[in-house]
């Protein structure tokens, strides 16, 4: 478990302001924020490259604020992977164990086993410059995991990859986390990545941690308008695909079913629906929209010029003041939320 307490630090053109959060053992914590929000600097501070001007960092209850990086046992994977260009894959992976001066045989066994599990054994004699982005990323992960770190820090681990590789590595990260259960802090600006991997999300803006919450809460109930704008104000529902007929899937969310378009065949998914794509009506609509779900209004929040109407079915819609007055959209009223199958975005969890 790692805890940051009121960490503040100033760099030339950026500062961290009173950042506090805790990541539990085995948790995958995602720090989500726009590009250049100082996300890498937080990780570098946790790793020990900067001693914060104010505040404390505790690792398993021990104050490590002043301890140098090499004594922290924290793994780090940079966005550009930062493989040692003069060493081959195997030497890269073995580096941390050599620093620990382990017996040769033990190093050999450990390196072999992690390379096998990451599927990079066949690359062992290659130099980093000859590897693809995805391969480099696997090597970088293996190199940081082989020392069995207390914390794994991932700096935008997927953003430099092409979409297809990104997808497969996202699955890989998930699998690694399930198998090894390494406490992970992962920074990204990518919402899909955050949703797919995070147990909890911390949203950072301008060097301040503005919301720490479950993915569901961050996306459904962002605490500020800024966060809402950044995350795109989404409805996120958890569900399970129960059928797929020629690309039209039915997702069971527990209380109701949603029809969406996707080539996913089965499994657990996150369902995204933008609130501005939801139409509210007093009676069930007979229209081309494939989904029409009833719910009781539980909350009405103003968001700039629009209002966000929350319903007890887990959905929220964005409407104008005019619509509220005309339809009488007040708390307690039952309405129908309608949206097209094409307005839904599914992400596998």
């Amino acid at each position: 478990m790692i805890t940051l307490e009121n960490v503040s630090h100033e760099w030339e053109d950026f500062s961290l302001k009173n950042v506090s959060f805790s990541v539990n053992k085995g948790e995958h914590f995602v720090i989500l924020g726009p590009t250049a929000a100082g996300k890498t600097l937080i990780l570098e501070t946790i790793a020990g490259f900067y001693v914060p001007r104010k505040g404390k960092i505790l690792l398993n209850g021990k104050n490590i604020t002043q301890i140098p990086p090499e004594k922290r046992n924290i793994g780090f994977v940079y966005q550009d992977y930062s493989l040692f260009p003069h060493m081959n894959v195997k030497e890269n992976v073995a580096f941390g164990l050599k620093m620990q001066k382990l017996p040769k045989r033990e190093i050999e066994t450990k390196v072999q086993s992690i390379m096998d599990s990451m599927g990079i054994t066949y690359l062992q004699d290659r130099l980093p410059s000859t590897l693809s982005g995805g391969e480099q990323q696997r090597v970088a992960l293996a190199r940081s995991l082989v020392i069995d770190p207390d914390i794994l820090l991932l700096d935008e681990p997927l953003s430099a990859l092409d979409p297809r590789t990104r997808e497969s590595l996202r699955e890989e990260l998930k699998r690694i986390h399930e198998v090894r259960n390494t406490t992970t802090i992962h920074v990204t600006h990518d919402q899909d990545e955050a949703l797919a991997l995070a147990d909890r999300i911390g949203v950072i803006m301008d060097g301040e941690l503005v919301q720490v919450d479950t993915p569901y809460m961050v996306f459904n109930e962002p605490v500020t308008e800024e966060i809402a704008t950044f995350v795109g104000v989404e409805n996120v529902l958890k569900g399970k695909i129960i059928s797929n007929e020629e690309g039209v899937v039915v997702v069971e969310t527990g209380n109701y079913q949603i029809r969406a378009l996707s080539n996913l065949k089965e499994g657990e998914v996150n369902v995204f629906i933008r609130p501005e794509n939801i139409i509210l009506s007093k009676v069930r609509l007979e229209s081309s929209a494939r989904n029409s779900i009833s719910g009781k209004i539980s909350k009405v929040n103003q968001f700039g010029a629009t209002f966000r109407i929350y319903m007890d079915n887990g959905l929220s819609a964005l409407v104008t003041k005019h619509a509220i007055e005309e339809l009488g959209l007040n708390v307690g009223k039952t309405v129908y939320a309608s949206f097209k199958a094409t307005a839904i975005h599914l992400i596998k969890t």
Partner: protein
């Protein structure tokens, strides 16, 4: 038809062609100067060259030159590598001043450098006296030659080394730290091996610069004669006839050594 096409091509690249022509004059100037001397000696008066090669005074002075410059380069590398690393990695107030100081020996006249070195290291000066207590004398000695060469050649090493260190992403060192390497280990295992090519070529530059030094050296150590001083001495006493063979011999040996070093460095890199 072909001519027309060529002409049209020439028109399209007019700027580059004119620049190429003007630029080639400069190259020609260098080649002509050296080639003229080497050619005349090798082809027209080969016996003079052989005579010089058989002269123990000449050979001794060439060996002395190469050796003193090697020592100067070694000192520059030992003291200059840490300096170059600090300059590449850190920003601090006054950094520009430090960098300018490093470059000063390149811009001041070398006879001036020689006078300054003499004033500091002569036996009557406090510094010269302190060194003479531990048995190192600079006036008219090998150590005088070495300090003069060090003064003029160190900037070449430091600048090359700094540029080398700058090409290495500090993230590599940071990752090494997270993997348990101390600052020393990460420098030794990551930074140094990655910079070694730059350090080596900086050392070759510094060494060459040391060999070519004349002005600063004669002020502090006319004797023992390094090759450039011997060439000057023979030129004033025996004219072109007596000095040119030594000059050609020195140039041929230097070119030979440089080619050897470059190719061995390449071979070594490939092997890795």
């Amino acid at each position: 038809m072909m001519v027309k096409k060529a002409l049209r091509g020439a028109k399209r690249h007019r700027l580059s062609l004119i620049f190429l022509f003007v630029g080639s004059l400069l190259i020609l100037f260098t080649i002509l100067t050296l080639f003229n001397m080497i050619f005349r000696q090798l082809v027209l008066e080969p016996e003079g060259l052989l005579e010089a090669a058989a002269d123990p005074v000449v050979i001794e002075s060439i060996v002395l030159t190469l050796y003193c410059s090697f020592l100067a380069t070694l000192i520059a590398a030992i003291l200059g590598t840490p300096l170059a690393y600090v300059l590449a990695r850190h920003d601090f107030p006054g950094k520009t001043i430090v960098e300018s100081v490093i470059d000063v020996p390149i811009i001041i006249p070398h006879s001036v450098a020689g006078i300054a070195l003499y004033a500091l290291f002569m036996s009557r000066s406090p510094v010269g006296e302190a060194f003479s207590n531990i048995g190192i004398i600079f006036e008219d000695s090998m150590w005088g030659i070495v300090v003069a060469m060090l003064f003029v050649s160190a900037p070449f090493y430091v600048n090359a080394a700094r540029e080398g260190f700058q090409t290495i992403n500090p993230r590599l060192e940071r990752v090494a730290r997270t993997l348990g390497a101390s600052q020393w280990k990460s420098f030794y295992k990551i930074t140094l091996p990655l910079a070694v090519r730059h350090l080596f070529s900086g050392a070759i530059m510094a060494w060459a610069r040391g060999i070519s030094e004349f002005g600063a050296v004669i002020m502090i150590a006319f004797y023992p004669m390094i090759a450039p001083v011997l060439i000057f001495y023979r030129f004033t006493t025996h004219g072109l006839q007596g000095s040119q063979p030594i000059a050609v011999l020195l140039i041929l040996i230097c070119i030979g050594v440089f080619i050897l070093l470059r190719t061995s460095a390449k071979y070594w890199e490939k092997k890795k």
